[in-house]
């Protein structure tokens, strides 16, 4: 059964230094609050997994929590580069970051294989691409029936998967909807899982065939309203596209990034406090502009 617990305790007890951790979300439902908590608690040597590492991974990498990234597309969607990710790969700052790079199809299949308790994923993929030349974990096998050549990559089996969802009930059953990405597969592929939710309700009122993760398949459920911000939760919030644009200059230089992270993450106690400081900053800025 999932434990309904504060996020701080869930991260503290379920995420260990050196773990392989997937904080998944495909633009929608990205678990930013949980990412901040990982940074606040100073977790180290993590192998991060994610199809689409974006701002929260830029922050975790820039704060030196990760030693490796397994991914298929790393950018600030609609804006441009992840400057902290690039600095780690291009300059080794704050330290060297190993990368294992795939395509989306490869990663999606690797999560499915992980959730299916298979050692590797099989797909038609990577043909003609240089990715297999730089990633020894992309190999090719022969179909035993047709002789056809198919791509094989190891399953993704995280120690911990972290996602954000819309609702949980009081027993810890979780309901999510909208753009689901690989979140269900990522939870079922992992040994442990943390799910932050917008609200905890008496009855999920989930239509038949909805995406429900049963309480017994989840380790911890944490009530963090707005915990995906600046990503969004369909039915609860809109994506704050301006934050994504504003992140670009913050992440461009090491000093500005570190000062921002100290003020907004390290020196705040939780996600609500982060949002309070962020809003204070926005209001201060508005005041300055009007003076």
């Amino acid at each position: 059964m999932a434990l309904i617990t504060p996020l701080r305790e869930a991260v503290s007890s379920l995420v260990q230094d050196g773990d392989t951790v997937a904080l998944e979300g495909f633009t929608h439902l990205i678990p930013h609050a949980a990412g901040h908590e990982i940074i606040r608690q100073g977790k180290k040597d993590l192998t991060l997994v994610r199809m689409t590492p974006d701002l929260i991974y830029d922050q975790i990498i820039g704060m030196g929590c990760a030693r490796k990234l397994i991914f298929s597309w790393g950018g600030n969607p609609g804006v441009g580069s992840l400057h902290r990710f690039r600095d780690a790969v291009e300059q080794g700052w704050p330290h060297k970051l190993d990368i294992e790079e795939h395509s989306h199809a490869g990663m999606a299949n690797a999560y499915v294989a992980g959730a299916s308790n298979l050692p590797f994923a099989l797909l038609r993929g990577y043909t003609g691409s240089d990715l297999p030349k730089v990633n020894p974990n992309i190999r090719f096998v022969e179909c035993p029936f047709t002789g056809e050549k198919l791509a094989a990559i190891p399953s993704v089996r995280p120690d911990v998967t972290v996602i954000h969802a819309q609702k949980a009930d009081r027993r810890g059953n979780v309901l999510l909807w909208g753009i689901l990405g690989v979140q269900k597969e990522a939870v079922l592929a992992a040994k442990r899982s943390i799910i932050t939710v917008e609200e905890i309700v008496d009855d999920l009122e989930a239509p038949t065939n909805s995406c429900v993760l049963p309480s017994w398949a989840v380790s911890a459920v944490c009530h963090v309203p707005g915990g995906a911000y600046p990503s969004y939760a369909q039915g609860y919030s809109e994506r704050d596209n301006k934050f994504y644009k504003d992140w670009d200059p913050i992440a461009r230089t090491r000093d500005v990034f570190q000062a921002w992270m100290k003020r907004h993450v390290l020196d705040t106690v939780d996600f609500a406090d982060f949002k309070r400081v962020l809003n204070d900053g926005v209001n201060d800025g508005a005041k300055r502009e009007t003076v």
Binding site: M51, S72, P77, E101, H102, A105, V112, L123, G128, N241
Partner: protein, 268 residues
Amino acid sequence: MANLESSNLEFSATEIMTVAASRLLQDGTVCFVGIGLPSTAANLARLTHAPDVVLIYESGPIGAKPTVLPLSIGDGDLSLTADTVVSTPEIFRYWLQGGRIDVGFLGAAQIDRFANINTTVIGPYDNPKVRLPGAGGAPEIAAQAKEVFIVLKQNKKAFVEKLPFITSAGFLDGGDAREKAGITGGGPTAVITDLGILTPDPVTRELTLTSIHPGVTVEQVREATGWDVKISPDLKVTEIPDADALAALRDLQARTAKAHGQSTSSEG
């Protein structure tokens, strides 16, 4: 040139690129759409001559009909307007690998003469000069869609003699190299730029300038290409954007800018 002079329409190089790209998409086509320029062109097609085009985004929406252009691949508008939203594994397994995509519509950071695409890295992979976002869905879209359109701006940094990295296969070394490698989809059929349209030679598969936008010279195209670009002996002048298409494009972009709170220039 006569076209341009006799017309009262004024349009930018990006606008004719977008309109020319959208015209290639026929009504009823099932199109796997990349974010940015491809998404703009595909939605313009949907709003003009191709109302029944089916737009599929890799985040899961099938039959998306966004009211404004998405800033990201997973904007809420995509899922709220879609016929259905499936998981990302399902998109890649059942819909793309399953052979249900007519057109893959891609952008690129760099391209070579055989329409191979780089979105991974500039410089050596292990010691990159510029680390780009990476593959995303492109390698399998480029390989498995029945045909592929590529839209990007033409200049020497983007149109290079040799790619530092092939992220997604076009025609590899040309000729029948793509088929020999076992790639099932038909590959790129058009590269639409702000200067013209290039299509692969039927035999060598080398990109050839087959249409040039009004007001652009062949010399400009040569200058903007990192190899000695082939020019078709039957070079056509791209039809200018009609007033309806331009109005629809500008309206869409104005709606988008309003919805996203500022300019959409980051998309292009």
